[in-house]
Symmetry: C2
Subunit: 324 residues, 2 copies
């Protein structure tokens, strides 16, 4: 199963969305238009607009409001990707050179700010005050989550509770926003809205846990980055946190000090990967993710059967089963 | 005359504002709070909140809404300063090390995003949809203006019209927003609102022209950076644009090619500064700025005399007379 398969029931909307999205980024500055065209060529999988449309469909149907909401979240998402590349000093994005690699940090920061403001403006221009309420909280949570992660990473003393807060702020907040905005664009029913918001939060958390598990169990050829990348990056994620909880304080301290060292050897990275696997870190994280997905799917019980509901059910499963 | 003198009539509000502002930046992330405290110690002159309060006063009086508006613009302004330091690779801000110098680019980008979202949230939380309408346009114009400037700088073919568009987007948009938000927080009268919006736009443009003139006529000891800094930075501003218009195409081309060269010598910078002065570039730019200020002051004719109106009149004069 792929995102392409899952989004089939709303493929028509995604097609129309691409034109709508392009128009929403138009500017009078030639340099900016050049960069925007470049971003459009990097074209992502449109997961977030897909969630907006599917949520809207099971709540009554896609409207113009759903398109406004979808453009808003995709603009915010694109803005954070452009800023992320500055933050991570990434040279590549979706198989193409990143904005920051081609145009340098200064322009990448400004383009991110521009896309952020376009995302807000599209809501403002369409009098969607409620969309703004929902998303401005998500924007705050995204930057808070990234900063909390950095702070904790520096100290390497992250526990499961803090980890869950980080991934919920950093990743789940926007996924949840997509589902909530889709619902809001189609219904006034608070029960339906809350159900989709919760579904998004749970799926978003499971999505990030899967990402963090893949960093341990995938292969470089599939993942596009070496296994154990997070360890090298001093990022302690759920599998590692669980494994550390299974050994004595003294042993945990020794392992942590290896991760803290300035230049960790490939050998040490491999040893830690093995340690995490042996202590059951992978199984534990996968179990947590699967529990979340079961809960997410149950949130959809209140909706009648439909191809759109099936797609959301499939998406939940896809999130924890994907290989990359 | 100083900003301190001008803001005397609303000094009490500025005092209260500082507490309000501090509270509006509070977060649950320790690293973020550390940086926020650092930013608060850099304490600016609060020019933007001052404009909000003065505009509110001449439109009927400062209210809680004025405080929300003032916090909003100051948060946005602070966010752009933090991002500007990344963009300009500045190590210093207000006599202290910049955020990007202390915490590196990645954190500076995220802190800027965080402050931006707090600025929007404070409006959202207070149901100030109109504030959002006004400021999201300003945010877009600020990043567009910076990008337009970069694009034109690369080509070095900026003309007066484009220059005016750049400074209006980059600088005047937020000054104008402050005045408009102050008015909106105190009155429904569209004439008063428009007058203050126009006043802000004109004062903002004159402010930037004065900045650009000072780069030619000030001294390093006053300005904190060497005279001719803009030339070194390949930034063509109004005095230079005018001077170029006074010579043959051929001569202009020769001068431009000097600026374009990778490493322009101190001697060449001094020659260009002299050229700009000889051709009357300074007088021309100062005349343009003074005309704008006269127009700005006339916009206040519709308001009755008061200490607050006098302060806005004084601010207009201050903008073009200041030495740094």
């Amino acid at each position: 199963m792929s995102i392409g398969d899952i989004s089939k029931p709303i493929a028509k909307h995604i097609d129309n969305f691409n034109d709508f999205f392009k128009a929403s980024m138009k500017s009078n500055v030639a340099l900016l238009d050049l960069i925007v065209r470049y971003i459009l060529r990097q074209r992502g999988k449109r997961v977030r607009p897909m969630l907006v449309f599917l949520a809207a469909e099971i709540c009554g149907g896609v409207s113009r409001r759903s398109f406004v909401g979808a453009a808003m979240v995709e603009l915010l998402h694109t803005a954070t990707l452009v800023h992320d590349d500055v933050v991570d000093q990434s040279d590549e994005r979706r198989g193409m050179a990143s904005i920051t690699a081609v145009w340098k940090n200064k322009i990448a920061v400004l383009v991110g700010d521009y896309l952020l403001s376009r995302g807000l403006l599209i809501a403002v221009d369409n009098d969607e005050f409620q969309f703004l309420k929902i998303t401005s909280t998500a924007v705050r949570r995204m930057s808070e989550g990234e900063l909390l992660q950095m702070q904790k990473t520096r100290q390497l003393n992250i526990d499961e509770e803090t980890y869950l807060k980080v991934i919920s702020d950093k990743t789940a907040s926007l996924i949840s926003t997509c589902c909530e905005i889709g619902a809001v664009s189609a219904t006034d029913d608070p029960t339906k809205r809350a159900a989709l918001k919760d579904y998004g939060e749970l799926v978003g958390n499971a999505f990030q846990i899967r990402d963090d598990v893949l960093d341990y169990i995938s292969r470089e050829s599939i993942l596009g980055k070496p296994v154990g990348h997070d360890i090298r990056d001093k990022k302690i994620t759920l599998p590692f946190i669980y494994a550390l909880s299974q050994v004595s304080k003294k042993e945990a301290k020794q392992i942590i000090s290896k991760v803290k060292s300035r230049n960790i050897s490939n050998d040490d990275v491999q040893k830690i990967v093995s340690f995490v696997k042996e202590k059951g870190g992978i199984e534990y994280a996968e179990r947590r993710a699967h529990d979340m997905i079961a809960e997410a799917r149950a949130k959809l019980d209140i909706f009648p059967e439909s191809v759109f509901k099936n797609a959301l059910m499939d998406f939940a499963s896809f999130v924890v089963e994907r290989a990359k």
